[in-house]
């Protein structure tokens, strides 16, 4: 098992390095300092910023230096747009808000979608199944943005305007975790106020696609030979679906869940922008709008790392669940 993981890690290191390479190249297509300061900047400012980010070095040198920074986790340079804050500070502070929304969303949507899919597969072909699938298709066809806008309006904005009560705030974020750097200001109820609505919206959006996909997986597994064997042994329908089929169906389910892992941490950009949650996506968009080069570079490096790690994690989990993979 450990050899397996080690192998995967080693294989992915060159991949990661090449990602960094491409990314750095892309970000330097335009001179970042010009992009930030405008076309005719003050020479002194130009020099200072250039030096600070090592932009006057040749590209190979920059590349090596940057890789070194990533490996040692050194992100101490200052953000250009947000005075006085180091990139590391921005980075670290933006992780909890993102996680507060995406982790519950992922967890809940998987549980709910799998449950609905099971229901659908169990009653396949009957009215329950058909209704659910129709709803899924309808749900899938509504734009994410529309869900967000209407969700926020009906559950937060409208009641607030009418003076009716609602547990949701329209926008914003306050710390809620009882541990970590901001523990004193944190109150648990803050999560409900600021994060619950985005989570609900996220789950509803995901349900359309996921339910259909999981149902398809389950129905496909249900038509396999071993299911007939199990029935021939006298297993009840419930046993067949929840024991025999489910374990096999979990394999594609896990793959899919794992493949959305990067989004777990990077945060849903739209949700963060709309609800004013200062997560990673939010910071990235702001950085891009402000042409804040250090922040952009570091975030992309981080995202890529997360992606690679999640790929490895997926492979490992796969091996855990599917005995056929383990021994290969």
């Amino acid at each position: 098992m450990w050899a397996f993981i080690l192998r995967k890690l080693l294989y992915n290191i060159p991949v990661y390095l090449s990602i960094i390479f491409l990314m750095m190249l892309a970000l330097r297509v335009q001179n970042p300092v010009y992009a930030y300061l405008g076309k005719n900047p003050d020479q002194q400012q130009y020099d200072e910023l250039s030096r600070q980010m090592g932009l006057d070095d040749s590209f190979p040198v920059q590349y090596v230096k940057f890789v070194g920074k990533v490996v040692t986790g050194d992100f101490s340079e200052n953000s250009w747009a947000q005075r006085g804050r180091s990139v590391k500070d921005i980075l670290v502070k933006s992780i909890p808000p993102s996680l507060s929304v995406t982790v519950p969303t992922l967890f809940t949507s998987v549980v709910v979608s799998v449950a609905i899919a099971l229901l659908s597969a169990y009653y396949r072909g009957r009215p329950v199944d058909q209704t659910l699938m129709v709803l899924a298709v309808l749900g899938m066809s509504i734009s994410y943005l529309v869900y967000i806008i209407f969700g926020q309006f009906f559950f937060a904005g409208l009641p607030a305007a009418e003076g009716a009560w609602t547990p949701f705030a329209i926008q914003g974020y306050e710390p809620w975790m009882p541990i970590g750097p901001q523990a004193e200001q944190a109150r648990l109820i803050n999560w409900v106020t600021y994060c619950l609505l985005p989570v609900i919206i996220g789950v509803v959006v995901a349900m359309g696609y996921d339910t259909r996909f999981y149902r398809a997986v389950m129905v496909e597994e249900s038509s396999r030979d071993y299911i007939v064997t199990a029935a021939a042994k006298g297993a009840s329908k419930r046993k067949i679906i929840f024991v025999h089929m489910l374990k096999n169906a979990m394999i594609p389910v896990i793959t899919r869940v794992m493949s959305s892992l990067p989004f777990l941490i990077t945060g849903s950009i739209l949700i963060e922008m709309y609800f004013g949650i200062p997560g990673m996506g939010f910071q990235l968009i702001n950085a891009i709008t402000a042409k804040d080069f250090p922040v952009i570079q570091s975030y992309v490096a981080l995202f890529a790392a997360i992606f690679i790690l999640s790929v490895i994690l997926t492979d490992v989990l796969y091996a855990l669940v599917d005995p056929r993979v383990r021994l290969s």
Binding site: R224, V228, A231, A232, G234, K237, H244, D322, P323, R324
Partner: protein, 365 residues
């Protein structure tokens, strides 16, 4: 086959000689499809006696698998319907009308089934032991240790070397032949009265095939299980079956003891099947392989007369086309569905035959 002492846990009710273990009458199975209602099995009747092996033979699509699955009620409920007169009598209960609960108690315990593809018929994510254990858990009261012991005993019985090791392994770690043995072990672990084997050796190569058939024969004797063997391979039938039922396009067209069918086939189709077996010998060198020209009619587009008519070298061209023959006692006092069974005295105008005509003797090499 070596003899292993086996702990018999089930007292088998003695069937008075002559009384069938399983009695099927007017089995008719229809499916609802996009193209309308399709009747895959049309008015099939037969008896299965204790301790005998009944072979069901026919081309792909003739309805033999559907027949077996109908008995076990393993077809998807929402598209399958049985005929009004259909009776599948087992232990006094009509399985075609029985409750799902009753079926669950019968399946695996009283009637067991093994399938064609050992590769995919076992659940890949559970160990062999788990799958054996499951069957025992449903149908017996044995404790965990006892179940494990019994499972290993079954594996030994089907001649799997190192059964204790295999018990913990996964299906993909075994070869095809092994897997089929495991399937047999699982099927027989609760000592069913009937074993339905749907093309159990088709996916295996010939040497393994022989071993599996031997195994089945031996087990049948030991446990006096009745076996319903479904196959398209007449060689297999000759090896293990006592009686044979030939099916074509959903109908039974001939039935009888193996010896008689092979020596005195009465239905032209049966005869053609026998002729198409490749034979060795000087007389056959240089001759073409005999085949049956044409194809099976589509079940959605059945002819009004005999279903084999368009491929039959003995059709009279008129009555055979318009009137479907009924299943009646033929010259050998066994059922045949033909207007002009071979070996009878009925006159008919013979059409030109296409294939060479070796005797029925040679056919049973």
């Amino acid at each position: 086959m070596t003899d292993h002492g086996m702990t018999m846990t089930k007292a088998r009710p003695e069937h008075a000689g002559g009384e069938p273990v399983l009695s099927v009458r007017h089995l008719t199975t229809s499916f609802r499809t996009d193209a309308g209602s399709v009747t895959a099995v049309d008015d099939v009747s037969f008896d299965l006696m204790q301790g005998e092996t009944l072979g069901i033979v026919g081309e792909s699509g003739c309805g033999k698998t559907v027949t077996s699955k109908s008995i076990m009620r393993l077809l998807p409920d929402h598209v399958t319907t049985y005929g009004r007169e259909t009776e599948v009598m087992f232990e006094g209960v009509n399985l075609a009308r029985a409750s799902a609960r009753h079926m669950r108690s019968v399946r695996g315990d009283k009637i067991a089934m093994i399938f064609q593809e050992p590769m995919t018929s076992l659940n890949p994510v559970f160990t062999i032991g788990w799958q054996l254990d499951e069957a025992l858990k449903y149908h017996t009261d044995l404790g965990r240790r006892e179940r494990r012991d019994r499972g290993i005993e079954m594996l030994r019985l089907v001649e799997i070397p190192n059964p204790e090791e295999r018990y913990k392994e996964y299906p993909h770690q075994l070869s095809g032949g092994m897997r089929q043995r495991v399937m047999i072990a699982i099927a027989l672990c609760c000592e069913p009265d009937v074993l339905i084997a749907d093309e159990p050796t088709t996916a295996l190569d010939v040497t393994i095939q022989a071993q599996i058939l031997d195994l089945m024969n031996g087990l049948k004797e030991k446990l006096s299980t009745a076996i319903m063997l479904i196959t398209h391979d007449l060689g297999v039938v000759a090896q293990v079956c006592d009686r044979v039922m030939v099916m074509y396009a959903g109908r039974v067209i001939e039935e009888g003891p193996v010896i008689e069918i092979f020596h005195r086939a009465q239905h032209p189709y049966t005869k053609a099947l026998l002729e198409s077996i490749p034979k060795r010998g000087n007389k056959t060198r240089g001759k073409k392989l005999a085949t049956i020209p044409g194809i099976v009619p589509s079940l959605t587009n059945l002819p009004p007369g005999c279903r084999f008519e368009d491929r039959c070298p003995f059709s009279d061209g008129t009555r055979c086309r318009t009137e479907e023959p009924a299943l009646e006692q033929g010259p050998d006092d066994r059922p045949v569905r033909c207007h002009y069974p071979l070996g009878s005295d009925r006159e008919r105008p013979a059409r030109v035959t296409v294939s060479a005509e070796p005797t029925a003797q040679e056919a049973q090499d």
